[in-house]
Amino acid sequence: MSAGPYNYSYIFKYIIIGDMGVGKSCLLHQFTEKKFMADCPHTIGVEFGTRIIEVSGQKIKLQIWDTAGQERFRAVTRSYYRGAAGALMVYDITRRSTYNHLSSWLTDTRNLTNPSTVIFLIGNKCDLEGQRDVTYEEASKFAEENGLMFVEASAKTGDNVEEAFLETAKKIYQSIQDGRLDLNAAESGVQHKPSQPGGRPGTAAGGDQPGRDNCAC
């Protein structure tokens, strides 16, 4: 077997931020393990998760930092924003206060990351429609005004979780393709890893082709 398909070409660093109890760790868990973690304890620190995804045929390794939401840790978690290529900003659609604090989270994100960092707004717990405290339209408008990508998702049912992480990666990848994201910048949040030579099994596109063209046909 040739060595091609299991290498990843890029590493993207993500951070997940937002008020305490909005479901940041559950979103990460749902994304990496495809499971809902009931009784998730408060994160005291920064959890770490990883998954390899594919965008436009490129394997990308996501390194996701899930930060503590408690206000008292705010000063410390700010250290983790640096070098993030993607920021998932989460609120709880059933608790308006978590939505009201978004502007403060957004300010931190804008101040502490670079301009090309993709910020994705996630309204979590959309499975709890009956307890809704923030309308979709309102949040959607907020996202639009601030140039954020936005979905409502549920870490419990898994709705839109995959999409949020993948869409963020696509946007980052697009920025790389457009040249808007400078890979050489130390804080781009993206590492490029050149792939090993070798094609997919069963194709002739391998990197092992003789360099010298001595084939007369």
Binding site: Y6, T203, G207
Partner: protein, 833 residues
């Protein structure tokens, strides 16, 4: 590898990861270093992911019996900087010196000459040749460099090599990627049957020694003789050009000419595409596949080996093409071995050389490593011990068995000297050599060579079923007849859909694994609250870090952004970093020791796991005020012990008028020393008990009607502590330089004290100096002189910003204070306003 070593190899192999394969070892090696000769070394050639390294192991026994007998002494990566050589030993017939050079490093070993040494050396040379084609990456060696002792690391000079791609950081970042890749490869291989199925492909293999002739006739009767078109063609020629130019410059127009005839001669019922065409002098090999299979061909590579003149020229030797068809690796070798009846041993040697030296670029596989190998060519083995006439007679009687028994290839093969694992179909055709040109008549020239089956096709590997093996008498332009063999070969075909599904499946599992294999620990508490924190009364709290993950966890307390240390100066963390094995625990002590004036302590510590998450530990506690750490100015504005006042009252007191000219606490301490300590020897040098100091602190801070507790030395030490910790030093920081500069002249010193030092601080300074002058009057009893006291108090009265920065006393500060111990101070005292 020698059979006797098999058990030792297994032991050596146990020293390495399973993906790191011990290819060859050499026992009983002595390491030579100058005149020293260290026995008990084992050399091991280890391969990982197509890269090679030479390990020098120390063995506790001549033949190790368990892994614990072995330790790694040095490791040398085999890349373009690597070379090896041998040197004879003057007084020894049975030993040689094996020299390994890596950049500036040269290592010499004494080894016994024999099969073991020549096998080992040739394996090393082979690996070096493979490496020189690649750009090997040696990250995998990093872990072994870590296990070698420091001395060896330095002497082997490996870690300093800037262009050697071993970096700690690399492995730290890429470790999971590397494991992941090899793991996935391994898993995919294990599950190969699930996503592949066997398909039979027809493989046509042809060989013809054309005796230097140019092509003039169609090759159809050779290449297209079967009803159905084959899927794969491998067509080999020998002697396509016998000219000197071809021999010397390896350049001939015949290549293109013959290849055109081949293309014209292939089966008309299918279209073919050339996979590769390779030639060395007269040996030419083309591999073609039916066009529909071409997209499934990958990893094409080729090489040539000359074994002719000087052991390297291309008049004899072999050419080979390797490729992967679907999921099966194939190798075709076309050879032309040494001529002449009696040279069968030379032919055996040529065969071995071709195997040993054939190096496919960007593929570490040797010929024998391929799943299917097809060996064709003019092997040149003859019929022995029979005259030409006898051979012809036997042929006429069709006594093939007798003849084939006399065939050198069959004989040598039977003895295991050549093509050991190869199979040949039964020969049913007449010898293919030597014919008169343009005839089917065996050699009628004077030499009248006996006919022989020089042209042969053999195979090796799984799932190859031979269908036909024949010669083609119609082609008469050479003194050889072409031979062909047809095979039905089992090729493992990847079902892309199933492959993708299994691949995705494995990726998902590995993601899960990777997350599971992240270091995981739990801490028993993340909020540490101390009891009332008091001045210089350390409190210890313990946290227990338990490794609940599956891999060793390396933890470290790290600093927050824009902070200089991982914790505040009132805290010590022991240990602040370490490694915990899975299932084990580590107790970490957090010791708080307050030496400054704080209302409360508060900090968030970051406990970082290398390659994993971070945890926050909050440390907090209320602090008790102490006269030792507040400012002297505050102390002079309160008329009772500091702890009798609330925090609010203390804040209020900052605005009070001065009540005292020196703090009560200093007066109490000095008064006590004045009454009871003037005649005490070593008053300021004996260290008091910690509890005594605490008692004196509490006596001062709480106030008491009892006499001052503890020994007189404890009172003296308390005075020194008081002066050392008071919020501002007695002589303000900004005057220190001026004081030191003025130290040679008392009047200048006096000037600073009188005009520049604030009133309160001047009072304290002079008050202490007057006491010390009094103390010096009893030097006969207490044993102190002015110089000693000056250097003791100089560093305290003029203490540094950073306490404890220098252990030794400052001469300038001592000189400054000295002036005030030996001169009359009455003129310096400013009367109270």
């Amino acid at each position: 590898m020698l059979a006797v070593h098999r058990d030792v190899v297994n032991i050596v192999q146990a020293k390495f990861l399973s993906a790191e394969v011990v290819k060859s070892i050499h026992l009983n090696v002595s390491s030579l270093d100058g005149n020293w000769c260290d026995e008990g070394r084992i050399l091991a050639l280890v391969e990982y992911n197509k890269t090679f390294a030479l390990f020098i192991l120390i063995s506790a026994k001549p033949k190790p019996v368990s892994i614990s007998d072995l330790s790694i002494e040095t490791v040398i990566p085999i890349d373009r900087n690597f070379s090896c050589d041998t040197e004879p030993i003057e007084d020894s017939q049975c030993h040689i010196i094996f020299i390994i050079t890596y950049k500036k490093t040269k290592l010499s070993f004494k080894i016994e000459i024999g099969v073991e040494s020549s096998n080992f050396a040739s394996e090393v040379i082979r690996s070096k040749e493979v490496s020189s084609h690649n750009s090997p990456v040696f990250v995998w060696l990093d872990k072994y460099l870590g296990t070698m002792n420091q001395q060896n690391r330095n002497s082997s000079d490996l870690t300093e090599q800037s262009d050697l791609p071993i970096t700690r950081q690399h492995i730290a970042q890429g470790q999971t990627a590397i494991n992941r890749e090899s793991m996935l490869k391994y898993q995919l291989k294990l599950r190969e049957p699930e996503y592949t199925q066997i398909q039979e492909f027809t493989v046509f293999v042809g060989t013809w020694n054309v005796n230097g002739q140019a092509p003039t006739v169609s090759l159809r009767s050779w290449l297209s003789t079967d009803d159905d078109p084959p899927d794969v063609y491998a067509v080999g020629f020998q002697e396509i050009d016998l000219s000197k130019e071809a021999f010397l410059f390896n350049d001939t127009p015949r290549e293109a000419e013959w290849n055109k005839y081949v293309l014209d001669g292939v089966h008309p019922k299918a279209k073919y595409r050339c996979v590769a065409l390779i030639r060395l002098v007269g040996m030419q090999l083309a591999v073609m596949v039916n066009t529909q299979h071409y997209p499934h061909v990958s990893n094409i590579s080729y090489d040539t080996v000359g074994t002719g003149l000087l052991g390297k020229m291309g008049n004899k030797g072999g050419v080979a093409i390797r490729l992967q068809l679907h999921n099966t690796s194939l190798c075709f070798v076309n050879c032309h071995l040494a001529a002449h009846v009696e040279e069968f041993e030379r032919r055996n040697q040529d065969y071995k050389d071709i195997n040993a030296r054939m190096n496919f670029r960007r593929s570490p596989l040797a010929i024998k490593d391929h799943e299917q190998v097809y060996w064709l060519g003019d092997l040149n083995y003859r019929i022995t011990d029979l005259t030409t006439t006898q051979v012809k007679t036997l042929l006429a009687r069709n006594e093939m068995t007798t003849l084939l028994r006399a065939d050198q290839l069959n004989q040598q093969k039977e003895r295991g000297n050549v093509l050991l694992d190869y199979t040949e179909a039964d020969i049913t055709f007449p010898p293919t050599y030597k014919y008169d040109l343009n005839s089917d008549t065996f050699d009628t020239s004077e030499k009248a060579r006996p006919p022989a089956w020089t042209d042969r096709i053999l195979w090796r590997g799984k799932g190859i079923h031979h269908v036909a093996y024949r010669s083609h008498m119609d082609l008469k332009i050479s003194d050889h007849k072409p031979v062909s063999a047809l095979f039905k070969s089992e090729i493992s075909v990847v079902d892309q859909n199933r492959y993708r599904k299994i691949h995705e499946d494995l990726l998902k599992k590995m993601d899960k694994h990777e997350n599971e294999y992240l270091p995981q620990v739990t801490i028993d508490q993340t909020e540490i609250i101390y009891d009332l924190v008091k001045f210089r009364e350390p409190q210890t709290k313990e946290i227990i870090i338990a490794n609940t993950g599956m891999v060793p966890a390396e933890f470290e307390f790290i600093k927050k952004l824009e902070e200089t240390s991982y914790c505040k100066d009132w805290l010590r963390i022991i240990p602040y970093c370490g490694s915990i094995n899975p299932g084990e625990k580590c107790d970490v002590k957090l010791i708080v020791n307050l030496e400054s004036d704080l209302d409360r302590i508060y900090d968030i510590l970051i406990l970082h796991l290398k390659g994993g998450k971070d945890m926050f530990i909050t440390v907090s506690g209320e602090c008790q005020k102490s006269s030792f750490t507040v400012s002297m100015s505050l102390l002079c504005r309160i008329n009772m012990p500091i702890l009798r006042l609330s925090k609010e009252e203390l804040i209020q007191a900052e605005k009070n008028n001065l009540l005292y000219s020196v703090p009560r606490e200093i007066w109490l301490l000095i008064d006590h020393l004045y009454r009871h300590g003037l005649k005490t020897r070593e008053l300021f040098e004996s260290s008091a008990l910690h509890e005594e100091l605490i008692k004196i602190r509490d006596w001062l801070d709480h106030g008491s009607l009892d006499p001052i507790p503890g020994s007189i030395q404890a009172t003296a030490e308390s005075l020194l502590l008081f002066l050392s910790y008071t919020k501002d030093p007695v002589i303000p920081f900004n005057l220190h330089e001026a004081c030191i500069a003025a130290a040679t002249n008392f009047q200048n010193c006096r000037q600073i004290i009188v005009t520049r030092v604030p009133d309160l601080h001047r009072n304290v300074f002079l008050y202490i100096c007057l006491f010390l002058q009094e103390f010096l009057k009893y030097s006969n009893d207490n044993g102190y002189d002015a110089k000693t006291l000056a250097s003791l108090f100089g560093d305290i009265l003029l203490r540094d910003v950073d306490r404890n920065s220098k252990p030794q006393a400052s001469r300038g500060k001592a000189n400054f204070v000295y002036n005030f111990l030996v001169n009359d101070l009455s003129s310096s005292i400013v009367p109270p306003k």
